[in-house]
């Protein structure tokens, strides 16, 4: 109630002043600013009231965005949120009064009627609305009504609070579409964060393996190699054991090398997509024409996704397409990175057929990208990926 009175007075006065001063634009602006600030402050007070008294958390209304102070003022003045909050601050008083009256009336009547038998005899016989207050039947009926009212009273208070809450949530909180928009923003941000974190984790593991296990294994293979050349006179079984260990160490190195490269290609960071992709193309067992026309650099996560998209698409071509040549085109325009991998194989590629293409689709989608596969039976197959340059 007191909050309601304050907000009603402040909001209405300032609004009236603003409206009145609108003709003298210069004077209206400071009052408008005061009004907007008051609306914000009152909303804050109301939100904490709902949180502390009723345990209702009303999400904060959206803050206007703008480069300059003037732009923010304009945005806030135009925002539907602002005027819905204004509406609530005006409504708070009548709503509060109504609720207060209703609740106190019900309680008062309930208490008065329940205790009626104690004082009915002091009242005039037809004292109230012409009721027979001295008839025991009538007193009993009114007392029962009082008990019922007493039972109903908390529910009335609850209902009043609920109506207040519903109105407050509807008017003070962000509108539904705004709430959804905010949710989408939050989800987009957290998903981008998750994708970036996964990428950073791969880089970290790659670096750890490079600095740790790989160096140690090279050292081991080197020592076994030295032993192999120096211990030529050792007994046959010992020599054989060293030879086998040496070969196995080299094999392990080769396997670890491919695995580490599959985590993250280091050349991508210092030379970019062109260099990293020409490494894959040069290793492909079929001729691949590579064209990369990317003037700047995209975000590291997007570059990594683009790299793995091409790697996986080419693996797919080599494994399944029975192609004789393939082509990789990468272009960047208007903040979009576009990749097209084409082969002259027998077609029929689909994300449902193998986990490779499905993984591609998932990785692309996680970065807000689009994957299209055009692979009619008989070929040719075109896999196109469209990614935002910034994640």
């Amino acid at each position: 109630m007191p909050v309601g009175i304050v907000s009603f007075v402040v909001a209405l006065t300032l609004a009236a002043l603003t409206a009145g001063l609108l003709i003298t634009f210069v004077l209206a602006v400071p009052v408008l600013v005061a009004l907007l600030l008051s609306i914000r402050a009152l909303t804050h007070v109301q939100r904490s009231r709902f949180r502390s008294l009723l345990g209702v958390d009303i999400p904060p209304p959206t803050r206007p965005v703008g480069e300059t102070w003037g732009a923010r003022l304009k945005a806030e003045t135009r925002s539907g949120d602002t005027w819905r909050q204004f509406g609530y601050h005006l409504l708070a008083l009548p709503l509060g009064v109504l609720g207060f009256v209703l609740v106190t009336t019900v309680w008062a009547w309930a208490l008065a009627l329940v205790t009626l038998p104690a004082y009915a005899w002091t009242l005039p016989a037809n004292g109230l609305f012409g009721w027979e207050l001295h008839s025991p039947a009538m007193v009993a009926a009114l007392t029962v009504t009082g008990i019922l009212l007493l039972l109903v009273a908390p529910w009335v208070a609850w209902a009043v609070a609920s109506v207040d809450t519903v109105v407050a949530v509807a008017l003070l909180g962000p509108s539904r579409s705004k709430a959804l928009a905010r949710r989408v923003e939050d989800l987009t941000r957290s998903r981008a964060g998750a994708v970036d974190a996964a990428d950073a984790e791969r880089r970290r593991i790659e670096r750890d393996l490079h600095d740790g296990a790989q160096q140690r294994l090279v050292s081991l293979a080197m020592n076994l190699g030295r032993a192999r050349t120096r211990l030529r006179d050792a007994p046959e079984p010992a020599r054989k054991a060293i030879e086998e260990a040496h070969e196995e160490a080299k094999q392990a190195l080769a396997e670890l090398r491919d695995f580490v490269r599959g985590l993250h290609p280091a050349v991508l960071d210092d030379r970019g997509l062109d260099a990293a992709l020409s490494g894959i193309v040069a290793r492909a067992p079929l001729p691949v024409r590579l064209r990369v026309d990317v003037p700047g650099r995209c975000s590291p996560t997007i570059e990594a996704i683009a790299y793995f998209v091409v790697a996986e698409a080419l693996t797919n071509v080599i494994k399944h397409a029975r192609a004789t040549t393939a082509e990789v085109n990468v272009t960047a325009t208007d903040g979009r990175l576009r990749i097209a991998v084409t082969d002259d194989g027998h077609g029929g590629a689909s994300p449902d057929a193998g986990s490779g293409l499905r993984g591609l689709a998932q990785r692309t989608a996680a970065a807000d990208g689009v994957l299209r596969i055009d692979s009619p039976p008989g070929g040719p197959t075109v896999i196109e990926v469209d990614l935002p340059c910034e994640s």
């Binding site: 050292s219 080197m222 030295r226 160490a249 280091a266 050349v267 020409s278 040069a282």
Partner: protein, 216 residues
């Protein structure tokens, strides 16, 4: 041979020192990062620097940049670049300009001690040592764009071995054919690639690799 080793892993640095010292070479200095390497090369002017690609502070390609810079400043100092993964792009950058006294090998190759020491000596004497993996990448890249397709599979094989810096005798041994057969393949390669035949092993490699560079 006077050698400088630039490698940030202490384990590998010590291993390389032992390996090269065993073979009778003199490791005059070591460095743990690219800046230190440049300072050490300037001071000692070794016959050859064995350089790791990824070194502090950024752990990306500072070793490669240092190798290229060293070749520009001190052409008489040979450079053998080692890496856990060989990149076609790095090879092209490293071989741009001159191919004398340059090597680019996978780190794994140090496990085959004798071959590795041979490669160090070959590069230190002004020759070339390219990892088979690098060579096949360069050939694959060039095949997509040039008349190398005219070569027979056997000639391609011979060319690969040549690009690794091997002599005719070594190629003949590797392919289990006679020296004469190899010479015939080699002259065919030169003819098909339109390159003038040259007498020395080294100049021949230069010609082959220069051709690969042009294609790449």
């Amino acid at each position: 041979m006077r050698i400088v080793i630039a490698e940030d892993s202490v384990l590998l640095r010590e291993g390389l020192i032992r390996l090269l010292t065993d073979a009778g070479h003199d490791v005059v200095a070591t460095a743990g990062d690219a800046d230190e390497a440049m300072a050490v090369i300037a001071e000692h002017r070794p016959d050859i620097v064995v350089m790791d690609v990824r070194m502090p502070p950024t752990h990306t390609d500072e070793g490669l940049r240092a190798a290229i810079e060293s070749r520009g400043r001190w052409p008489e100092v040979a450079v053998l670049v080692l890496s856990q993964w060989v990149e076609e792009r790095y090879a092209t950058e490293l071989l741009a300009g001159s191919t004398a006294g340059v090597g680019y090998l996978l780190k794994d190759r140090v496990a085959d001690v004798r071959d590795f020491v041979d490669a160090v000596v070959r590069v230190g004497e002004g020759g070339t040592a390219l990892d088979p993996d690098v060579v096949s990448q360069l050939l694959a890249t060039s095949r997509h764009r040039n008349p190398l397709e005219a070569l027979t599979p056997r000639e391609t094989e011979v060319l690969k071995l040549m690009a690794e810096g091997r002599s005719n005798r070594a190629i003949a041994e590797a392919l289990v054919v006679s020296d004469g057969a190899v010479e015939k393949h080699v002259s065919n390669i030169f003819m098909k690639l339109d390159l003038p035949p040259a007498d020395s092993d080294h100049r021949r490699v230069l010609a082959v690799v220069r051709y690969l560079e042009d294609a790449g």
